[in-house]
Symmetry: C2
Subunit: 327 residues, 2 copies
């Protein structure tokens, strides 16, 4: 039952931030993934992001047998049909658009379909979830959300602060996403989300991708059953159509990569040892373990229909609602 169902359905991971190479693409394929939203920028400016996209386009040519660039729901369906892993390119920060509103369309034309408004520090758009004070969405931020709505770029609030998130949800004409976070009640981290934000997101038609990242589930010893129980309670609270998966997989990322993600150029590390990556749970050591989540949901008693929604169907619907330019 498990392997058959997992193979049949469209499986989408709302976010991964791996150090991408052929072995990682093979893991995605082994995990039966139809589509992954891949992070292409965290602290990069426009030039840096353009360079990273250039390398992605090379990877699409080099690993054409395993992966394909997807820009629409039709492309994702094609990926499923031809048995490749579809890659949705996304940013985890608005740094690539700098202070230039016209770069939203530039990056949309290059295939960027998801942009998180802030990474781990406040920027010219709003506050991150780690700021002690959140003054909400700025004037430029309002223009960026409207332009993302217009061009067809999904707004991601995963690392965004509470007040800024609520402002965005109120303003956005299209539903938005939390691609990789859990409810605060499951594990208390600034990166997990309050009921207020999650309910507002769902009321606006949005989707939250539950993350397996160890620091946001309470460590590697947290069991698959606990993770699936969290999903069950979340579904009871906001409805089946608003819950999905966004693992935040960090395959092949080094300690230096983690230091870059955490500190960027904004904090001196003063010769400290680079931080170390947390240990992942046994039931999700890599994206190749994706079928375990499908299995866990079935064990929890979810119907086939509900598993299909959580494992990919809800992302697919949200992407359909947000990836095309407005007429």
């Amino acid at each position: 039952m498990l392997s058959t169902l997992h193979e049949e359905i469209i499986v989408i991971d709302g976010n991964q931030i791996n150090n991408w190479d052929r072995e990682v693409f093979e893991e995605l394929s082994a995990g039966g993934l139809t589509c992954v939203q891949a992070t292409c920028a965290v602290w990069e400016d426009a030039r840096g992001a353009v360079g990273t996209l250039g390398r992605w386009f090379q990877m699409f040519r080099e690993h054409d047998d395993l992966i394909m660039h997807v820009r629409s729901v039709d492309d994702i369906v094609t990926a499923k049909t031809v048995g490749k892993v579809g890659i949705v390119l996304g940013f985890q920060n608005a740094s690539p658009i700098e202070d230039d509103l016209s770069l939203v369309e530039v990056f949309h034309r290059l295939g960027i379909r998801v942009m998180q408004l802030t990474y781990n520090i406040q920027n010219h758009i709003g506050a991150s979830c780690y700021e002690p004070n959140d003054a909400g969405l700025t004037r430029f931020g309002r223009a960026v959300v409207r332009e993302m709505n217009h061009c067809g770029m999904l707004v991601d609030l995963s690392h965004v602060g509470e007040r800024t998130s609520l402002d965005v949800i109120e303003l956005s004409e299209r539903p938005v996403a939390i691609t990789h976070a859990n409810p605060m009640w499951f594990y208390p981290s600034p990166r997990n989300k309050s009921d207020a934000v999650i309910r507002a997101l769902a009321d606006g038609g949005g989707v939250i991708g539950c993350t397996v990242y160890p620091n946001f589930i309470g460590g590697h010893e947290t069991q698959l059953g606990d993770f699936c129980a969290m999903i069950e309670r979340l579904v009871e609270t906001i409805g089946i159509e608003h819950v999905a998966i966004g693992t935040d997989s960090t395959r092949k990322c080094t300690a230096e990569d983690l230091s870059w993600l955490r500190n960027g150029r904004w904090r001196f590390t003063n010769g400290q040892e680079p931080p170390s990556w947390p240990r992942w749970p046994e039931w999700f050591r890599s994206p190749a373990d994706f079928p375990n989540i499908t299995g866990g949901l079935l064990d929890r008693g979810f119907s086939r229909h509900d598993v299909e929604a959580i494992m990919g169907g809800n992302w697919l619907r949200l992407f359909k609602q947000t990836f095309e330019p407005m007429g």
Copy 2:
């Protein structure tokens, strides 16, 4: 006869470098132009070019009633059908790709379909026509030409030096262009082209766009009849299918713009007065005068078929052969 023919055929200008605004777009429309290859970069690096493209995408939205972005021959045919001026975006220098080969695909995806390999000074690809010595196409240059062939970006040699041009023509798997220059025998300027280059270009299936820029026709007093006689002799030499128009129109460009085009950042102007623009001939004061060229060719005795080829058909064929990625 004139107005009817000019209105019926697809009219393409191989190059314009105006200071683009609504009035200029209205001039293109008044001139009955179906399509213009518009210069988006001369000295800009990747970041600068991305910013300029962002502004172009805004112009396409703002002046949607007059212009449209064209990326293929099908788009150009659509422009003719709906009565808009199609804009092919191009670079007059390889500076936007810097030393990053992957940026050829990035800019192709953004719509750039033509790139001149050098502007007015030598770069990492080859020599400009103004260099005293031309060492030919470099190793990086060979990689760039191959990548442009692969991605579907037309190589432009208008400002490129003699030996570099001959190397490119020999290497390129697809025909190449001189979008805006005249034969050296018509007027002796380093920017005009030797018989050797023009014949090699034509042998490889390429097209030369004859320019009206005053400095390359011998000044504003040169008559339309002389210009059309030049075209006639060129057609006799290399065949009707290799000759087209590329005016190098510079509408609304200021003296400061001319200083930037000539000197960029590579030469200090030491407080000199900015140079002044040459006076354009009475028969081509702006792109609105485009029907005069059609008239001049008819007066010279060209057939309807030949006028159609020179005024747009030849560019259309070359674009068809060069704008799509290789399979």
